[in-house]
Amino acid sequence: TVGAVAVDQFGNVAAATSTGGMTNKKFNRIGDSPIIGAGTYAHNATCAVSCTGHGEYFMRAVVAYDVACLIEYKGLSLAEACHYVVHDKLVKQGGEGGLIAINQLGDIVLSFNSEGMYRASKKNQEPTYVGIYK
């Protein structure tokens, strides 16, 4: 699975996720990536989120929208909302994976709770960050 989140000079955010699914998957199984609110979500007032991981858990927990709701209704910061969902809610349910998220201010969060995560980000003219969590 791959994904991107971005904010432009007008303050508009966007999210995109694309996946080849799971090796050896059967019965036309679909994961969270194409499900708006589960694997992909964007709203200017809260954040843009793209998820990667064990899709069934991300669907049940409606992860991407859950992050936005914690910001909108509970007033959490982007980092707090992402950390709570990925390291508390998901882990308790046995869900492996992570997400990337961004808001209108250009705050970037790269949360994950398992190995095999590949990340990169770039803000304004700052140096490009590239990270592989093995």
């Binding site: 995109a16 694309s18 080849g20 699914g21 090796t23 036309n28 304004n124 093995k134």
Partner: protein
């Protein structure tokens, strides 16, 4: 002026640290750097975040290293079924496709659903017919073939397991650490 920023992530299709050679790591880092800078350049040109995320994901879909687009893993039947979604925070509009085959860039098909239909999610051959009707790029199965993925598939078949992007290969299962 609002800050511009972009972040990307990539799952590599069951490549674990045990299988990650220094040469491979350089390739992955270069691919990630290229994709994030493609998206960042679009933001620098004053274009929208929607165009930036699509361009960055297209770049990753075209790269055989990642489990999406060209580098997609094999299904049980030895095929490639792809899913994608895109959403724009300014309008709340969204587009998505699921279970599509032979589409070169599923993320562009998802954006086409958003911009040229009244739907959000199209699946299977209906989504493919929609994409062909708008002249999107399709590729033969051979375009999606990769030896490493094929070996992962054979290992998963043998172990009768369905394997995640980042989880262990059946025979390469090692004690897993969690971030």
């Amino acid at each position: 002026m609002n800050p511009i920023a972009i972040a990307i992530h990539g799952g590599a299709g069951t490549i674990l640290s045990a299988l990650m050679t220094p040469e491979k790591e350089v390739m992955y880092r270069q691919a990630l750097q290229e994709a994030v800078e493609v998206g960042h350049q679009i933001l620098l040109q004053g274009k929208s975040s929607l165009e930036a995320v699509e361009a960055a994901v297209r770049n990753l879909e075209d790269c055989i290293l990642f489990n999406a687009g060209r580098g997609s893993v094999f299904t049980h039947e030895g095929k490639h079924e792809m899913d994608a979604a895109i959403m724009y925070g300014a309008t709340g509009m969204a587009g998505a496709v699921a279970g599509v085959r032979q589409v070169r860039n599923p993320i562009t098909l998802a954006k086409t659903v958003m911009q040229h239909s009244e739907h959000v999610l199209l699946v299977g051959d209906g989504a493919e017919i929609f994409g062909r009707s708008l002249d999107l790029a399709f590729e033969p199965d051979s375009y999606f073939f990769d030896t490493a993925r094929h070996e992962q598939w054979l290992a998963a078949l043998k172990a009768d397991q369905v394997v995640l992007d980042h989880s262990a290969l059946p025979e390469a299962t090692t004690d897993r650490k969690f971030g």
